[in-house]
């Protein structure tokens, strides 16, 4: 009995000791952290004015203005430089890159790219992306083969930030990654790198796996390279329907009216995604010869194609809108509905509804004739709402007369 109580006391003492140690550890740790933060804040106050003066054009080099910096001072200087790099471009931004190279910050982070812990490597890639030093390109290219996908992606993003051609090729090669999302993200990075990256993609297009090709086609539309249209026009007849569809979309993004004849052919493609994207692209090119074919596609059996054709016509100005008004009398119900939806969206229906209160009899007749066509199209939800809630009583009365009695919601 005596031994048991002694043992219990010993356990309690032990537990108390552990808790005291933990408490002290937390307190000391917090105090150290706060001390470090305070020291960093003081240092920042001291270094920031000199760094900002340099960034704003004072002196050729930052090093002599700061004097010798220890490890902690260098990390604070890096923080200040990269904080300012977020919102600057032009000369000031280039001076930040030069300062990072001069202070050895680029070299420090390049060395960190070989750290055994993956998050340290990822952090280094992230910092190098902000520093934008082309000197980091070779090491970042090596990092594109890292075993951790997150590290590879950050390396890709960092390469995308460097204004150097050497980083384009490894990024194009990285599109061979079997992961579709990786290919999409890398295509996004390449699209932001401009026409050089697009040219490299054109050259290597046939070596890419099929999923990467779809992403590459998107990238070509966004980067607007002069070499892209030739490839994209050929891809309109590719055996893969996704490639054909994305090629049509990209041609619309580039926006050259000379693509119209090829895109008009794609409007008759056997696969609906291709027809839908061709209709969208033709809307962007806005050539008058596309009005009639787009009006025909309003009868397509696929909703997506009809809507894109209607939106395309809407973006073509008066001619497109006239074609949509014409489609209100189509024998095809789908075409009528697509036309009504788009005319509502374009504000044309509201405009005619407002004309019902016009003092000009001709205008009123015109409005009535238009509204009767909408009633005949059997899509009257918007008109019924106007009949119930329009601000002008005369409009409400006229609409109620045109619409069937009983359909007007109170």
């Amino acid at each position: 009995m005596h031994t048991t109580s002694e043992l219990l006391i010993q356990v309690l003492w032990g537990l108390g000791g552990v808790l005291t140690f933990l408490f002290l550890f937390i307190v000391v740790n917090k105090a150290m952290r706060e001390l470090k933060e305070r020291r960093a804040a003081t240092l920042r106050k001291e270094l920031e004015p000199r760094i900002l003066e340099y960034v704003n054009g004072k002196g050729e080099r930052l090093g002599p203005q700061l004097g010798h910096l220890g490890g902690f001072e260098r990390s604070v200087a890096e923080e200040i430089l990269l904080d300012n790099a977020r919102f600057l471009k032009g000369t000031a931004r280039s001076r930040i890159t030069a300062a990072c190279e001069e202070l050895g910050l680029v070299q420090d982070r390049i060395a960190q790219l070989r750290h055994p812990r993956w998050w340290k490597r990822a952090e280094a890639a992230e910092k190098l992306a902000s520093m934008k030093s082309p000197k980091a390109a070779p090491e970042l290219i090596v990092l594109m083969h890292d075993e951790v996908p997150d590290v590879r992606m950050r390396a890709a993003r960092a390469l995308g930030q460097l204004d150097t051609r050497t980083s384009i090729k490894p990024l194009v090669e990285a599109m061979q990654d079997p992961n579709r999302w990786s290919a999409l993200r890398i295509a996004d990075i390449l699209a932001g790198m401009g026409t050089d990256a697009a040219d490299e993609l054109v050259e290597n297009f046939n070596t890419l796996p099929i999923k990467a090709r779809v992403a590459a086609v998107d990238c070509l539309g966004r980067a607007k390279s002069l070499r892209a249209p030739g490839l994209l026009l050929r891809l309109l007849t590719d055996p893969d329907r996704n490639i054909r569809a994305r090629a049509a979309h990209s041609l619309g993004l580039i926006g050259d009216p000379n693509f119209t004849p090829d895109l008009l052919k794609s409007l008759s493609d056997a696969e609906w995604p291709v027809r839908a994207m061709a209709a969208k692209a033709l809307g962007k090119l806005a050539r008058p010869e596309a009005v009639e074919p787009l009006a025909r596609v309003l009868k397509d059996k696929e909703w997506w194609v009809r809507i894109n054709a209607a939106e395309g016509l809407r973006s073509m100005g008066d001619k497109g809108l006239s074609a949509l008004v014409g489609a209100l009398s189509s024998e095809d119900r789908y075409a009528r509905h697509a036309a009504v939806a788009t005319l509502e969206g374009a504000g044309v229906v509201d405009q005619y509804v407002g004309m019902l209160a016009s003092a000009d009899e001709k205008e009123r007749e015109q409005a009535l004739s238009f509204i009767r066509k909408i009633v005949a199209s059997e899509r009257t939800d918007s008109l019924m709402q106007s009949a119930a809630r329009h601000a002008q009583e005369k409009v409400r009365e006229q609409l109620s007369r045109v619409l069937k009695p009983g359909e007007v919601k109170p």
């Binding site: 004015p49 919102f87 471009k89």
Partner: protein, 126 residues
């Protein structure tokens, strides 16, 4: 002649400090506001010669501040440059429609910003 007074309204202290250093060196007097509410109050009280206005700020967004400043007779003539990461066409058009003199998208070129400020101040003084 007193130096032109510029009010910098941005919730990001790093940006405010950068712009302050940039403009103080060029002979301007800088005042800083860290949120929309203070930006409006300071603009109404001190009537700066020019205001740099961020759009995304706590308490009141930049469009709101701009609209209210342009509505009041006493502050309507303060030239305002919007500085924002928002770069969509409709946002830029909205800024101009509400009465902003200029719209600078972040990231920005600091020398270009100084030229725009100088130009607007010259115009408003002539």
């Amino acid at each position: 002649m007193n130096p032109p007074r510029i009010l910098v309204a941005d919730d990001d202290a790093t940006i405010r400090r950068f712009i302050a250093t940039l403009l103080v060196d060029r002979g301007y007097e800088i005042h800083e506001a860290p949120d929309g509410q203070q930006a409006f109050r300071m603009a109404a009280e001190m009537k700066p010669d020019l205001m740099l206005l961020d759009l995304i700020m706590p308490f009141r967004d930049g469009f709101d501040v701009l609209q209210d400043l342009k509505r009041q007779d006493t502050t309507a003539r303060i030239p305002i440059i919007i500085m924002s990461v928002k770069n969509r066409e409709e946002e830029i058009v909205k800024g101009f429609n509400l009465g902003a003199e200029d719209y600078v998208v972040k990231p920005f070129n600091s020398l270009e910003l100084v030229s725009r400020i100088r130009k607007i101040l010259e115009r408003s003084r002539s």
